[in-house]
Symmetry: C2
Subunit: 494 residues, 2 copies
């Protein structure tokens, strides 16, 4: 048996184990009784350890070396590259450090839940210090083998190939562009406020409408489900996709747009190359492209006049809505309303980058030692005031609002805005390549759009780097121009 | 590190992997979309292979040997014995045979589903032949290492230590006893038919009543759930127990008694020794004791006058029932109605053993070569006529009705009736040991009963053999006398 074939068998098993863990994660969020959390954590830890042992087996360097000498086609070459990438990352960290991080992250995350409710940053600070200490240690270890900076090494976990040197110029550009732009949009929107919708909107009808739209987007319910969880997500496996949302009977748009967002993630997974299932090259490329697929659907498509003109009557029908509030124009106004808010997850697409840039700058400063964790709340409040002109009255609505840092996910935040930029760039290229894409959306036909996304994004899996893929699909590497053009078109002209 | 401690770590991991598989099985039966079946089978196969590799690792014989020389307490000794048992069983089978069986069983089970609907035994016969051929091969391999007969080796998978030599006399005794007894009960019951209940019984109310009774039985919903599946089962893990039932809005008793039955299984798992979680000695003892716990609750307790006198008003309240049909006496009559029927899963406790003895005798004859698979339908129909005086009009209601043989579970059937006998023997001993058990049931208080079951059955895990455990708990090894006494008391006197 060739070394390459042996490697495929090993990674296939690691993928199946990872899929089992993924279903257990879904179950934990959607089904599991609360008292079972501890035992579930043990099951998932065992699966994760088994997967890690497969990838870091003692003979892996030899196999990787030998496979490099074999005759491989382009996909196999890319697969071997991704195998090596996993091996390098996982062997970089001593297992004692992995275990220590898992414990510290978990302890801090639990403490964060009550600290957030109580708006008590001091209560979680000692645990956060430990998380950051270990994150830095892991970052150093990975930076050494990847030959990049500590922050790049952390970012690289979520966005392979993502580098500060590429992000800084586009984020600086956005940070310059946004303050004036936001001010103009707010002025403009203040002149023509939308008519509010009158609830209540019964949850079963919201869910039924979500399912209807999912089906229209091509979601295959024979290989997937829609359920309810505390935070919306898309999980499971490419052949068993588990989408979740949450519903508020006073407001159906938030839950519905979450369904659409997660369906974008789901369709990316469903469109990954079937021939490379269970192989590293068959997996999604990284968080930037993943978020680009959800934001392309939620932001670019579903908050567009084309989609809303088709969807408005279905929304009205679902809730028995009548009158001017339910016109496509008014619904579109409601769906593109901009506001300076304190909470990232509630932010519109115009102000969202400010939240991300704030976090990106702070996490770099903290990891670089320029801001101490004691000073983090102050840095947050100053930073938000600079970027968005508002100041959190407490840490609950400030630096305690997001789980990421407290659960050890340092280096994750930039991918949200990188994803938003990639979404704009991809959708613009798609519409230019096929004029029936927008016309299709207007008649509720997403086939032209997904045909383009399949062949330009989904079916490449991890064959190319994010920037290679974007260059092939859009003619250039990731930048802010399509995103800014999109914002200007949508928010300056209506 | 001592060899014994090393073994504990390995079996702990194998148990965690097995628990993950168990949650995936539940998900498959309750949640999974249909189109994901194939990918789920691959995930479960990968987990099963990982577990098998842990137990059959090359250095296991050395570790087991070395541990034998170490100073161990009684629980550790028993744990080591159970570890060795797993190792012996799993190494007895070449992995090619395990894989071939998995494939043959799965192919036959799928074919059986349509063959049963079409009542077409010939359609599944070639696949069944392959299943039996491989089952026999596996039985021979295990018989050789266990030094028992092929049938005993197969039975031993489900009922450790179960032997034909012990079963034959009790089954023969029951087979002698039942025909006249059934005839007398039927005569007796014909004289006083119960008043039928008038439905419909809305499913949400059935489920709510099931939950209420589960809570009364001590089921901990903080570490367990109740859901719906095609066939009722109790799965999950001891700290995350997943009970299922199914409901028919024309008949609430069947679904409710299935809930109670599965809750008996669930309470056994919940009561296993916490100090030995994830160790072989901490697991349930075997199918006989497992079935004894479900039947003790469903048959011995919940169809008793004591329980029904407490439960009847709650049932009436749940469905707004009024009048003589809802009296405790009438509900009890409905719950203890005996009939000669063709279908095992619908059988009452009096005629049930006939169904089991039929299958037990046939599977021994088939495996022993005394009945060919071509002649199986005829042997079935003859056998049922002999044992129960009725004859299936087609194979759908005859030898095609149960999944067991077609999915490779040869040697399983006897445990149902062994469980029924054990249930009678345990409940009789429990009532004799503590007179408040029956009084407690009459007031909806199951604490006295479960206190006895915990300390006499559940918390021993797999420390003793089934017969040792029964002897300690009831003063004698498993026999038919308590079961016959129970049947006589319940069915001859009312």
């Amino acid at each position: 048996m060739s070394a390459y074939v042996a490697l495929e068998a090993r990674f296939r098993r690691a993928s199946l184990i990872q899929e089992a863990a993924s279903i257990l994660h879904w179950d934990q969020a959607v089904m599991m009784p609360e008292g079972s959390a501890e035992s579930r954590a043990e099951q998932i830890a065992a699966l994760s350890l088994v997967g890690q042992e497969i990838v870091t087996a003692a003979d892996m360097p030899d196999l990787l070396e030998m496979a490099q000498e074999e005759v491989l086609d382009a996909w196999q070459e890319a697969n071997l590259r991704e195998m090596r990438r996993q091996w390098v990352r996982q062997t970089a960290l001593p297992s004692a450090l992995i275990a220590a991080r898992a414990r510290a992250d978990s302890a801090c995350e639990i403490a964060w839940r009550s600290a957030r409710s109580a708006s008590d940053y001091a209560a979680v600070l000692p645990l956060l210090k430990e998380v950051v200490r270990l994150t830095r240690e892991a970052g150093h270890a990975q930076a050494a083998v990847l030959d990049v900076s500590v922050y790049d090494a952390l970012l690289d976990q979520f966005e392979p190939g993502g580098r500060v040197a590429d992000i800084d110029p586009v984020f600086d550009d956005l940070a310059d562009f946004l303050p004036d732009f936001v001010a103009r949009v707010l002025d403009h929107q203040a002149a023509c406020p939308p008519v509010p919708l009158e609830g209540p909107f019964p949850v079963p009808r919201q869910e039924a409408l979500g399912r209807r739209f999912m089906a229209t987007l091509g979601f295959n319910f024979d290989k997937g489900r829609l359920d309810v969880s505390h935070h919306p997500f898309s999980g499971g496996t490419p052949e068993d996709i588990r989408v979740t949302s949450r519903y508020d009977d006073a407001d159906f748009l938030t839950g519905l747009l979450a369904v659409l967002h997660e369906t974008g993630h789901a369709q990316y997974e469903a469109g990954l190359p079937a021939a490379w299932r269970h192989q590293p090259v068959g997996a999604s490329r990284g968080m930037t492209l993943h978020e680009s697929q959800s934001l392309l659907i939620e932001m670019q498509v579903c908050r567009s006049p084309a989609f809303v003109s088709w969807a408005a009557p279905l929304m009205a029908e679902a809730f028995g809505g009548e009158g001017p509030a339910w016109s496509a124009d008014n619904l579109l106004s409601l769906m593109t309303r901009v506001a300076r808010g304190l909470i990232r997850v509630d932010a519109d697409e115009v102000t969202y980058p400010a939240h991300v840039i704030l976090r990106y700058r702070i996490e770099r400063a903290v990891l670089g030692g320029d801001v101490s964790l004691e000073d983090l709340p102050a840095a947050w409040n100053e930073g938000l005031a600079d970027l968005l002109g508002i100041r959190p009255p407490d840490d609950r609505r400030g630096c305690l609002q997001d789980i990421h840092w407290y659960s050890g996910a340092w280096g994750y935040f930039p991918t949200y805005t990188l994803g938003a930029m990639a979404a704009a760039q991809l959708f613009s290229a798609a519409k230019a390549a096929n004029t029936d894409i927008e016309a299709g959306i207007e008649r509720g036909d997403f086939t032209p759009l997904f045909t383009w996304l399949r062949s330009n994004v989904h079916e490449h899996g991890s064959r190319f780097s994010t920037n290679e893929l974007l260059t092939r699909a859009t003619g250039r590497s990731l930048g802010s121009s399509a995103f800014k053009a999109h914002l200007k078109e949508r928010y300056s002209s209506n």
